[in-house]
Amino acid sequence: MITATINNIQVEVPEGTTILWAAKKANVNIPTLCFHPDLKPGGQCGVCVVEIEGIPGLSRSCVTPLGEGFRVRTHSPKVMNARKEIVEMILANHDTDCLTCIKNNSCELQGLAATLGISTVEYAKLAERLPIDRSSVSIVRDPNKCILCGRCIQVCSNVQTVNALAVNHRGYDTVIGTAFSAGLGNSVCINCGQCVVHCPVGALYENSSVEAVWQALHDPDKFVVVQEAPAVRAMLGEEFGMPPGSLVTGRMYAALRRLGFDAVLDTNFSADLTIMEEGTELVSRLKSGQKLPLITSCSPGWIKFMETFFHDMIPHMSTAKSPQQMFGALAKTYYAQAKGIAPEKIVSVSVMPCTAKKFECLRPEMKASGYQDVDYVLTTREIGRMIREAGLDLKELPEEEADDIMGEYTGAGTIFGATGGVMEAAIRSAYFLVTGRELENLDVQPVRGLKGIKEAEIDIDGTKVKVAVAHSGGQARALLQKVQQQMATEGKSEYQFIEVMACPGGCVGGGGQSWGSNMAKRARRGEALYEDDKARSHRRSHENRSVLAVYEQFLGKPNSERSHELLHTYYQKRSPVDGKVINE
């Protein structure tokens, strides 16, 4: 243990604790800017400096461990002056059109300037306007707002191992961006949006569909259907000041209905459907022993990641589309037929915790219905904005139900939003598909939680099925490299089934989540989904009556020819230089 004083208050902390954390023990908040609790500190901004007696200059509290006997001052005149000067210089180099910035009122720089009491900026405005990168269908990057904190780089290269963004050039000319300024849309970017949720300012945000959706909603000739991803119900409340992990399913339906959506349906329904298709696929691969391990395909960030960096894994991928796209394919076929609506009149909107879904819905192969299956994808943040724009406060709305015939869901569908959830849902149904009996204990604990790579062995009537779950690009890369190695040396992998989600924590940690998120919030959202699961009357996908009805009335049975037409897809190799499809 280290004993020291911070502002004359004695603190005792374990060795290696940084001054920033130690100060919290003395109930002092040292202001920060580039620091993010989930990322390795890089010391870029210099805002968190403190004065340590006997050490010349000021020290960065985010990277300086508290030393024995240190006498630290966190708010001495010298420190406060230095902080102000630094933030003023940052502001002088920042596009400060705050009122029209997407981050207005959620901007960490704005907040910091207020905390430090900065009222004027005495420095000369330096920045020249740089072009905004709009090349990506998912993410917009505005270099004029960028303060070079390096968080996006950390998450893109170290956490996700995508490396679309990098620090380029140097000194005052330093910019964060893609190689040769090609733009995110012409890079290996997997659209996961982790850069967006880690950005402290308005330099990264989603390519918004809010305007287009308003137009559709206001168009009397259109029939606008909406689906909401599992994770959205566990995070939308945060947009309205509710604590992370508040489950707002019913209020969400109510809000969407009040926005004018003609049918409020649910992606959880098609999550259950996905399990029917993917579970059937798993069972048939287990039986044939071919193309194992089977790897899940729900996460569009992961799909592009795999297509770009793991070409040899394409045959192992489940051909089942993601729940969003299954929903989309059915909305303009099955639903249109059942409700007697012309499919060309249907506008299919999805609400997702995800930015990569915007890319997924525009993939040219996602037109199984003969139309673009999903027209617009809104992130949780965007729908939050729309609800606020409409003068609604989610907290005050009543709880309502989803509309039929694609709104019913089971506990298995809802846990798709947390890492390990797809795996768990699949196990519940696969057990039934193989044995004809129901799995007794539905809680597959080893695949839950935020551990990097999770493993479990499931006994299905004497057949041992080894499964693994990875969340984040980095963990996926590590797991798949292990699989590659096993296949190269032993001819097969120890795993039969693998779930991968591109984002840390799964969809509850997606690129469409509320600003200011962190792993602790992600964990609470995940727990909320497991509570939702527990509270459902049905917890297995094959018990979803609406899903059974689709098969009865429209698809036949899982993996049928029609299912394949509408609910399955294929994958293509992409270049690790520009992320474009390689035409062979």
Binding site: G42, R60, K78, I90, A92, H169, R170, Y172, T174
Partner: protein, 526 residues
């Protein structure tokens, strides 16, 4: 075997090569052959003889006559007059043999006055011939160390010598070695920092070009003391000749079994690898250098951990400057007491300087620690060019300090320069005559920092840009008193909050220029 009558030592360094030394050499060899003197006259290449800016320079022995600005067209006349007829060619002779010029054995009497530790062989031997280095007692120190000294003994001797780093921070060399030696782990590295980028500094270049084996021997001794088996020399990419010479020297040392496995049949194995930089001043900072060596952008690292504990590829690493390492073999060969006989009590040894700007004879000199600036300028560099008045000097390059006339008699060492001590390392002395424009020079200094900031931390990246904006305004007489205050204020904050020494540096040139030349700068304020 015939008796060689005259030795012509041709200075081959980057400066003379760019002045056409190769062409002169070719002409000289051809002309000597034409005159049938090949057996009598030996043409030898050597490193810098201490002069710069004098074109192609050569010395003819035994007379010890210096010729400068020699062109190929001069060669026939020179050969005929001096080498054939024995009449030195007056029109090409250096007016006065510079004091800092080569000290030959014939002139050994001058050693007391002109101590040469680091530059002992520079300009005397052919740097491309290991035998010449060996003939000057080269590799004797490592030979002694490996046969009769334990690594701890080498460390102890260097500790007793009081040698401190000559790169800038003036940290005790032996202490640095000791930290790394004691750090846990079997694999340790030694890095020689030859990324000499401080404007006005080129001493390391001339050491590398003039006596590369001395560096190799110094690295061997350091590696032995630290327990490292691999050494790297990180040389800036612009130093083509240094890289070529050092690589040649390393190959020769390997041939002689002085680098490689079980050197001189001891259990000590050590090898050296050359790494070429690509243009980044900040890589002179040791952790940025390590990053660059690992194949990354040259961003400084967060400290702790310090390189002595976790440096190159996470292993304990010592980073020493060229000049520092070039002292080591002399210390081991002659002993710490001998070394302490030079310089001052607190700062033993010598310092190598590059003296440039408005002086009569710009060049490279080695002087004892504690020599005054006045002596350096007037004794070694022939005073101010054109007999003008001394106005001031910028010591230590861009990261250095401006000194006014009242500093002429301050003894130059790490103790007496006090708050300016750090600037001594680079050894750059840029002399200004009465006509020099301080604002102009400060402007150039601040532009330099903006250009060389790595961009990682906000105080430096944005601060250097703001400083440039302000000085540009002041330079065209559009600045205000407030702008001048801002220069100080920003650079002060940068000094306290920048991530690495680069951003901490602008304060010194700004504050010292205002201190000594405040009136001149003030006159530019609108």
């Amino acid at each position: 075997m015939s008796l060689v009558r005259n030795h012509v030592l041709l200075s081959i360094d980057a400066g003379t090569v760019m002045a056409g030394a190769r062409a002169v050499e070719k002409a000289l060899v051809e002309e000597i052959a034409k005159q049938g003197l090949t057996d009598e006259i030996a043409v030898l290449e050597t490193g810098s003889v201490g002069t710069v800016g004098q074109g192609v320079v050569m010395v003819v022995y035994p007379e010890g006559v210096y010729y400068s600005n020699v062109t190929p067209e001069d060669v026939p006349e020179l050969v005929e007059e001096h080498l054939l007829k024995g009449r030195p060619l007056k029109r090409l002779m250096l007016a006065e043999t510079p004091k800092q010029a080569v000290i030959t054995k014939e002139k050994a009497g001058l050693l007391k006055e002109q101590p040469r530790i680091v530059l002992r062989n520079c300009g005397v031997i052919d740097p491309e011939k290991i035998d010449e280095y060996i003939a000057e007692e080269g590799y004797m120190a490592i030979g002694n160390a490996l046969t009769s000294m334990k690594p701890e003994d080498v460390l102890e001797e260097v500790k007793r010598s009081g040698l401190v780093g000559r790169g800038g921070a003036s940290f005790p060399t032996a202490m640095k070695w000791e930290f790394a030696r004691r750090a846990p782990g079997d694999i340790k590295y030694l890095i020689c920092n030859a990324d000499e980028g401080e404007p006005g500094t080129f001493k390391d270049r001339l050491i590398l070009e003039g006596d590369p084996h001395k560096l190799i021997e110094g690295m061997l001794l350091a590696g032995y003391a630290v327990g490292a088996s691999k050494g790297f020399v990180y040389i800036r990419g612009e130093y083509a000749l240094s890289i070529e010479r050092l690589e040649k020297a390393i190959a020769q040392a390997r041939d002689y079994g002085l680098l490689g496995v079980n050197i001189l049949e001891s259990n000590f194995s050590f090898d050296i690898f050359v790494m070429k930089g690509a243009g980044a001043y900040v890589c002179g900072e040791e952790t940025a250098l390590i990053e660059s060596l690992e194949g990354k952008r040259g961003h400084p690292r967060i400290k702790p951990p310090f390189p002595a504990n976790a440096g190159l590829w996470g292993k304990p690493t010592v980073v020493n400057n060229v000049e520092t390492l070039a002292n080591v073999s002399e210390i081991i060969r002659n002993g710490a007491d001998w070394f302490r006989g030079y310089g001052t009590e607190k700062c033993p040894g010598t310092k190598v300087y590059t003296i440039i700007g408005n002086v009569a004879t710009p060049g490279l000199i080695e002087a004892e620690m504690g020599t005054t600036l006045r002596d350096i300028i007037y004794e070694y560099a022939g005073g101010i060019q054109g007999g003008k008045k001394f106005k001031g000097a910028l010591i230590g390059g861009a990261a250095g300090a401006f000194l006014g006339p009242d500093m002429l008699d301050v003894q130059m060492d790490f103790v007496n320069l006090k708050e300016y001590a750090a600037v001594l390392g680079s050894g750059a002395i840029l002399v200004m005559d009465e006509g020099a424009d301080v604002v102009d020079l400060l402007q150039s200094v601040l532009h330099f920092f903006k250009h060389e900031s790595c961009g990682h931390c906000a105080p430096c990246r944005l601060g250097t840009a703001q400083l440039v904006k302000l000085i540009d305004r002041i330079a065209v007489s559009k600045g205000s008193r407030e702008d001048l205050n801002k220069l100080l204020r920003i650079s002060d904050v940068m000094r306290d909050t920048s991530f690495c020494p680069l951003g901490q540096s602008p304060y010194l040139p700004i504050s010292s220029s205002i201190k000594y030349f405040g009136d001149e700068i003030g006159a530019r304020i609108r």
